[in-house]
């Protein structure tokens, strides 16, 4: 054995190394993908939501329109990084899902293109919610067609309230405190209100809902920071959360580590009586296959603060086109057809938005669907469609969508979390966030 091994010479070693490399290359070549091969293929990138529905809609597009689509997806949590790398690296990318929060950044970087010159896309504006059209518009240009829209809802467990002898859900944040204390005293829940305030992409929506419902805004009409003003709702909202955690102990101090998904599961398990959740979560919460409180979850208008009017925050996502694609007219037209197929009517109906709603409860931004009987029946099976309409009418567009949003949000989120953890006062936290906003605004302008 030793003798045989000792004969192994350097050249043989190099041969083995080269062979191993070749085997590796050959072994994997069978897996080589044709993703970027065909130039007449539309490359479509999305986050991994409603994957089956997207696949089925793509398959129908290929069949009906005759254009091939290369559909790929990435997890939502990493999607933005992924797509930015592809933009920067010049990867083939024609149509992609875009969050309204990224619009100024993507436009200013020259990554996405306006769709104003495509009449087949712009004609759908009349049937879309104004809020959606506004959210897709930046510097007078529109950058896509809506994919879905939703808002932050205030939900409660009807049974928990009944057990605590509460006859009607709260209408103000003071009433939320009172009812939480009752529920806590009755031993029904240690922390009756579930707030998911971990530093993740959902955080801004939770904070905005709290601030808007307190009658506040983060910025004024000129786009300057208003959050540090004592008369605005931001400080009041933050102070309410601080008191809820430290004074009343009705919100868990661990809320700064609870993400939206974890919070959802905690609410589904019956650990809490109240929760702030995206509206579309009502469906899984009331699904007996997924939830311990199925059928008991109800929605009420977002509680109001001193100057509040039950406002909440709304958001939307849209189908966009890359700037590189727009530069090639033929390819841009192919891509526009796919955008229309998803964001407009497919064979005469808003099929994608409808199925997205009936399949998983994701909200739509096109008004005609409210008249669809399937949609109405679906809504009423787990929620009150009138309450949804009423709250949606009170949803406000986020006022912090700017090119510097991402950088500011780091400071802003830390400021909220520090205050909630007792490391700063509400005033100091909001002053820090406001100063950062104004400094970034100056820097970018």
């Amino acid at each position: 054995m030793t003798k045989r091994v000792s004969k192994l010479a350097r050249r043989e070693f190099l041969k083995v190394s080269a062979a191993a490399g070749a085997v590796g290359a050959l072994g994997t070549s069978g897996l080589f993908n044709q993703a970027f091969a065909a130039s007449n293929t539309v490359n479509f990138m999305a986050w991994s939501a409603a994957v089956d529905l997207v696949k089925s809609h793509v398959a129908e597009f290929e069949k009906s329109i005759g254009i091939d689509v290369n559909y790929a997806n990435a997890p939502w949590a990493n999607y933005r990084d992924n797509i930015i790398t592809k933009f920067v690296g010049g990867a083939p990318l024609d149509m992609m899902w875009v969050s309204d929060a990224w619009l100024p950044e993507f436009v200013d970087a020259g990554w996405i293109a306006p769709i104003n010159k495509f009449d087949n896309l712009m004609k759908y504006n009349d049937e879309a919610e104004d809020f959606c059209n506004d959210s897709m518009t930046y510097k007078g240009q529109q950058y896509g067609l809506t994919y879905y829209t939703d808002f932050m809802a205030f939900l409660y467990d009807e049974q928990a309230l009944k057990k605590a002898g509460i006859s009607s859900p709260p209408t103000t944040w003071d009433e939320v405190t009172e009812q939480c204390l009752k529920i806590k005293a009755a031993g029904i829940s240690e922390y009756p209100l579930m707030l998911a305030l971990a530093n993740e992409s959902w955080l801004m929506n939770f904070l905005a809902a709290m601030v808007y419902s307190h009658g506040g805004r983060f910025t004024d009409e000129k786009g300057n920071a208003a959050m540090q003003s004592p008369t605005e709702g931001a400080i009041k909202a933050l102070q309410w959360v601080i008191d809820a955690v430290h004074k009343h102990k009705i919100v868990s101090p661990a809320c700064v580590e609870i993400g939206e998904l974890t919070g959802l599961k905690a609410f589904q398990s019956g650990n809490h009586a109240f929760a702030l959740e995206p509206k579309y979560r009502m469906r899984p919460i009331n699904d007996p296959k997924q939830s311990q409180i199925a059928g008991r979850c109800k929605q009420v208008l977002m509680p109001s603060g001193d100057n509040g009017k039950h406002n909440t925050v709304g958001w939307m996502r849209f189908h966009g086109m890359s700037a590189a694609t727009a530069a090639n007219q033929a390819h841009a037209e192919r891509t526009a057809k796919l955008i229309e197929w998803f964001g407009g009517r497919a064979n005469g109906e808003y099929k994608f938005q409808k199925y997205l709603f009936t399949d998983i409860g994701a909200g739509f931004g096109v008004k005609p669907l409210f008249d669809d009987k399937d949609v109405q029946a679906s809504y009423n099976s787990y929620a009150d469609v009138d309450m949804i309409k009423a709250q949606q009418a009170l949803a406000l567009k986020s006022d912090v969508v700017t090119p510097w949003y991402g950088e500011w949000q780091e400071t802003h989120a830390s400021a909220w979390q520090a205050a909630i953890l007792g490391q700063a006062s509400a005033e100091d936290a909001m002053k820090k966030a406001g100063d950062k906003w104004n400094s970034l605004k100056k820097e970018f302008s």
């Binding site: 000792s6 990138m45 199925y355």
Partner: protein, 320 residues
């Protein structure tokens, strides 16, 4: 006449009794601490396994069911036996239980992605050894100009965070035409793992006496033969350590795989598992079943090489 114990004997007996109790107390303390640490380490794994056999409604029970009351194989069935069918409006999976639950249709991608992970990890391990062993041997036993600088340069490359390398790597991979190809991962993972491999092996080779090297050379061995016949057999523990390191680093890597892969032709296990968590409809029990499947290969490898792991990782840490 009774024999009374002397003061010394009584003291000695007391000491023995005290010593026995002290020993018992120590054993109990060690046992308790061991149990606490064991529970702390194993409880998440136990919950992972337990919840993978639970339905979604059972998984959110309060208090949690550590032993499933209504065990189900639905999750594993979706992973191992889901038949491929074209996704159409009619066959798409929805959240509606009547339509077949909300286990994603992409559950069938788990095994192919596992195969991709396996190919990438094994290739990275093999190439790591082929590149790392000669490099480490040369740096440890051959005195050449720039030797120390080479070692520090290799180590310095690992100071750069991976995220800073994503765009440069992406451009290289794109220009090589390897986007959405497992070769893109093999190439980039080598850049990450080889420096560690070399560092660990250099430390180990340096701990072996130079006399072995000299004796082999006197007996007529070439440098290459010395490395293969003398040093490699002695370096098995550290080779196992670097093998495990390279395998696990490749098996678990997420960031680069996310950037360079797009389809199941090249996507690895972490990407597919992560995609299950970000849909509108999420099944924790299914994700946990995927987690159970994902940890099987590393666990098997760890068990197989268990006796070499600690000695390999500490090898060269203390130089006499």
């Amino acid at each position: 006449m009774s024999i009374q114990p002397t003061t010394f004997e009584r003291g000695s007996e007391k000491y023995r009794t005290k010593s026995v109790w002290s020993e018992r107390g120590r054993s109990i303390a060690i046992f308790t601490a061991t149990m606490v640490i064991l529970i702390y380490v194993l409880a998440p794994v136990a919950w992972l396994v337990s919840s993978s056999f639970q339905s979604e409604v059972e998984i959110v029970s309060v208090p949690p069911h550590w032993i499933p009351q209504e065990p189900t194989l639905e999750n594993f069935d979706a992973i191992f036996f889901q038949e491929f069918e074209e996704v159409t409006y009619e066959t798409r999976r929805t959240v509606d239980p009547a339509a077949g639950g909300y286990i994603p249709s992409t559950a069938k991608d788990l095994l192919p992605s596992m195969w991709n992970s396996f190919i990438v990890s094994v290739s990275v391990v093999i190439l790591n050894l082929l590149v790392g062993i000669p490099a480490a041997y040369a740096m440890a036993k051959i005195r050449f100009w720039g030797r120390q600088a080479s070692i520090y340069t290799i180590l310095t490359t690992r100071v750069i965070p991976d995220i800073a390398l994503v765009v440069p790597f992406f451009l290289v991979i794109k220009n090589l035409g390897l986007l959405d190809h497992v070769m893109s991962l093999i190439i980039t993972y080598l850049a990450i793992t080889v420096p560690f491999t070399v560092f660990i092996l250099v430390s180990y080779f340096e701990s072996l006496p130079d006399e072995l090297d000299k004796a082999a050379r006197v007996d007529g061995c070439s440098r290459f033969q010395t490395m293969i016949n003398i040093f490699l057999p002695l370096a098995v523990p550290s080779l196992v350590a670097v093998t495990l390191f390279a395998f696990l680093a490749s098996w678990n890597e997420f960031l680069l795989a996310l950037m360079f892969t797009q389809t199941i032709a090249s996507q690895t296990l972490p990407i597919i598992v992560a995609s299950f968590t970000s849909d509108f409809t999420i099944s924790f029990s299914f994700i946990n079943a995927a987690g159970v499947v994902a940890i099987i290969p590393p666990v098997i490898i760890a068990i197989f090489f268990e006796r070499y792991i600690v000695s390999g990782l500490t090898a060269g840490a203390v130089k006499g």
